[in-house]
Subunit: 368 residues, 4 copies
């Protein structure tokens, strides 16, 4: 269904940008997981607006409430309802949106498909919808961490044309390294240049995009299904379901097609007492199924569609008009998207893990 | 489910590389569609081995039989069972596969996940599984063509590092242009160089990959759902579910993140009496929903994993060994994958079209 | 998924008996349906406790809030979030439930399945969960009424052994006739006897069950799918998913197996200008598909499990103990279940109608 | 989807009565299950026509072929394709069906829904479709027997008005007792009377229906999901998806509503070292979840719609006409339906068991 994701660990998100709030229902969470609102909040805080001087100055605390599914600090196996109230509802800033279609936004397609749309801040097409994903992702990450020690680490490798140098990362970056800069690039010199670029385009009322890389380690062998529900296929869908994404690649990706088979194949060896590959062009997935190596993928984000410059467009009657972006927007959404990428990846992996292990009581959680 | 794809127009594929044959069940095909085995066969012939001197010399006629769901030449709304018998079952060539894991194949992950695998020609992980997709895609393409005039055109833009020059295509290429060369690149000079490269790597027992671009025109406005079932998300999943794929991008793709918002946004104008965009960086999809412009996406394929060179690997016990590729394989799978890409794209679009229009009697087909 | 129902018009319910509240997300509601909280409230009021002197004296206003999916009084095609806050949280009355399993309740099975349960008022297994179903059913009924004039009428035909006489109903009963008595039996004399029986068993701290019949008219021909998703199969699932139900029958039902084929077959005739059946033993469904006749089915409800008498049971350690029902309960849940039966039937029919007609803009709603 | 059943253990059936054959794809079968065509055949033989002198004299061997998913006698975790070729295709006997709608058959509703139908033997609406269910059920029963010792036993308790006396069965009947008579009633005296009744109505070209009871023992505690996917809800759907069924009840069923709560409640006790109920009015399910007691349910079947008597009907243009049943039909389908009821019950239970235990490698099968 349009607003649900996952099969055994399924989330359903609801709520609009300028309505009462944003919610998510998590159906299929294993019971007895210790969870607090604070743990979920910590992830939401990485996504919320106003967290640094390169994001939108909108101030929304985005405080999460747990409305169901948790009893005495632990999940019960019943659906978990989470809710984040909207507080910063300055919809007057959006009045013009009602009369004309914003270029490269969802206004025209929503209006055409449904015959109606909520123009306040984009309504349902707003990136605020991803709040529910991040909240659910917090649970998914915790389950996988407790059960298998799985770790997710997403970070920015490129903003506009400023890219981290090849080989800059010698190890799996720490969360601290990623969070050290507002731009969430674990290479400090590159991060500095990225921030300068973002501030520069903002000063011109313009915007930029970039690329996020995500690495996942301690993935059990065997996640993913043959044929259609391949792990990389579900990851690709998850990432392309995020606003502003234009591409996905895993392992060697597009560049891999520049290699010959003799260069690209990941030879097997016995290492650390188990079957390993010498290289990881596969990106941790072979035949659609995780092989125990690090999962590595990248996601391309287009520049923010809202810019503070006049743009040619048409009104609801199709007449030519001009629209001047207003409101408070991110000149680059990529830094705030890092935690969303991790969340979606965790949802995909957990769903596949539960297909292997079963829905209920399948995970043994250590006492809190 | 692992072996099903789609919601309202759903296909389920079954069968192994060296078993009795490959089948597909199509559930949800609208009734009264005129269809013949010959029409399906024409698409299968574009996929089958042995069709040119740059593909595998294996000879399989891949003849399709319609076993159910068609009455007096028209679909009845009941499930359509299609079957292609396997004929070239030289499994002796594959004996070594049983004892060792082929690098960058699915042997290790299948064995780890299921505790068993059919080693004959890769069993279920063989690309022969895509026969069912192409057969089902033939129906999907016909329905969309009859109902809306939708046209799908996939072709190769790059083999190894030989790429079609930018701007080489001024128009939507014809099927004849694509089929004119064995490599299915509509730019003759590039095609020639690609074929030479493929023959060259084959002579060294090596392999190459490449990139397929797919364009779709006459797409109705309004296909795709907000949030999770975005059209580009479902296309990404469809493409990454194909063997040997490593990446997907739509519209401006990864390159789009090198532009600023003021360069990337697709301005609206009234053209040909309807709302159009001036540029098409969006690739025909905005907010997850088709906007009526051409859908344009690209898929990256890695080099064929099977090479006729000795490779280091391990056996089922994890001991180091060496495996020498045998059998008859494509040095480059990309030319045969063109029709598979079109088929998967058609499955995605038709499923979304049926979500709009309903499952039964929704499409009015002209008399045959 | 456990907490979702439907495919194209899908609802997901969440919330526990004594938590903050009960919610439902409706995904797939067609856009442009005019809807108000008052219309939904009217249906909830038929379900809520304390509405008459034969229901539980618990007072819960069960006020519904629309939190998303409605813009300027009309649905937008995006998910509709509804929420009903719990107000009467006297969980002290339930303390004993924590220590022992209530007979014929879900305590033992929840505890065994999940290893944990929320004992307050049954938590998620409480019939308060059906609030979400009734709220969603209000929308489904309105859509079907506007689009096709479909009418749903459920009522009680039996309480304990007090049954409406055969042939008592000569016509499709009106809503007023059903609502005329607290017991929702449209035959006044029988209703009076039923009410007396309910008061009688209540005075002994005991309980009774009964049978609900539901009739649906103006059903379009063609709803339901061959083979597995037959209309009667989906209705059966919907009804047996309600708490306290033990049986379902359609048309002639169990009694139909006492007839011979020559007596049971519904002969065809042309009537009112269209193909009709002379009798309706089929209950409006043939081959799993609606034939345009009235849909008629019946649902059996067991007596309320909570009784105010001491009962033998075991505690969490399996030791014998005794449990004395406390709290405020319905001696007979059937009168309040009438609107729930209608709601579930409407969800089933609308889902099938949308499969025929498509998800979006498929229904033309008259201006409000 | 219309022609699929189940979530983790999912079957998809295809094929028409008088086409090339009937098939089923089983997706999600755990790997390493030892299975032979003979084991499946044994179940099909209990369903096939011509097995006794009270069934249709049509002779169809219904020989099953395994076309995929099994390697060296064991399942591989990939989809299992089964096929049964049709051999007795005397469609001339059905010519009249083409011109007029058979009363209480699916002719009219299929024609109305799809605008077309295959009139040969009912096409897809034929009970031959259940071949695929029985074949898949054979695997499901074997898995549950090996993994948990679960046993399914269905049998006839009533034909027309001839019913097994109350209390006739003191123990769980054996397969031999059920198979001892052609009518599959384990009470010999009743069976004799049933057979006489069936022969009697057949001599008049008429037909009868009846009731099947199914008992399942050694069911693990914890199968079934709260709220919508209750075990009894899924069983009800499974049974009402069978041709000719009109009702379903579990445990006390419709009769249970004649008891008071104090009589109906299943008190808990410790017995055999575990928590048991003293009575089993619940039929083995409480709160939608199995409690470890025997699951007991009943299914009502209407009399066979095809009778060898002239019947009033209309033709495709709606004009009155008369139709005389021809062909070779069962005067009572109930004896052949026993194995189908068991199969569907097994599919439901296995699907829920896999939700608990996971899809792959979750069941440890003893060496063959």
């Amino acid at each position: 269904m349009p607003n649900s994701f996952g099969h055994l660990f399924r989330i359903t998100t609801w709520g609009e940008s300028h309505g009462p709030g944003i919610g998510v229902v998590i159906d299929g969470c294993p019971p007895l997981l210790p969870i607090t609102a604070e743990e979920i909040q910590a992830e939401l805080d990485r996504r919320r607006p106003g967290q640094s001087d390169i994001t939108t100055p909108r101030k929304e605390a985005d405080v999460v409430e747990i409305l169901s599914g948790v009893y005495e600090g632990k999940t019960t196996g019943t659906p978990i309802g989470l809710f984040v109230r909207n507080t910063d509802q300055r919809s007057s800033a959006y009045n013009e949106m009602k009369a004309a279609f914003r270029p490269s936004h969802a206004d025209f397609t929503y209006q055409s498909k449904f015959g109606v749309r909520d123009p306040n801040g984009g309504g349902r097409s707003s990136a605020r919808e991803t709040i529910g994903r991040v909240a659910a992702g917090a649970l998914a990450k915790k389950i996988l961490a407790l059960a298998n020690g799985v770790e997710f680490r997403a970070y920015i490798t490129r903003v506009h044309d400023i890219a981290m140098p090849a080989g800059a990362l010698t190890e799996f970056p720490t969360l601290e390294q990623v969070e050290a800069t507002a731009v969430r690039c674990p290479h400090p010199a590159t991060a500095e240049a990225m921030i300068a670029r973002i501030k520069d385009v903002r000063s011109n009322g313009d915007s930029v995009g970039g690329v996020i890389e995500c690495r996942i380690r301690n993935v059990p062998v065997g996640l993913g299904e043959p044929v259609f529900d391949r792990l990389e296929a579900d990851l690709a869908k998850a990432m392309l379901s995020l606003p502003a994404t234009k591409g996905f690649e895993i392992g060697s990706g597009f560049g891999g097609s520049l290699l010959k088979g003799s260069e690209h194949n990941d030879l097997f060896e016995k290492r650390d007492g188990r079957v390993r590959t010498v290289t990881n062009n596969s990106g941790g997935v072979q035949g659609g199924i995780s092989n125990g190596e690090e999962i590595v993928f990248r996601v391309a984000f287009k520049p923010t569609a809202t810019i503070l410059q006049p743009q040619q467009t048409v009104d609801l009657q199709g007449n030519a008009t001009e629209l001047m972006g207003k409101g408070r927007h991110d000149p680059c959404v990529v830094p705030r998207a890092v935690v969303i990428v991790e969340a979606m990846a965790a949802l995909v992996l957990l769903d596949h893990a539960m297909r292997q292990a079963g829905q209920n009581r399948a995970f043994e959680f250590p006492a809190k």
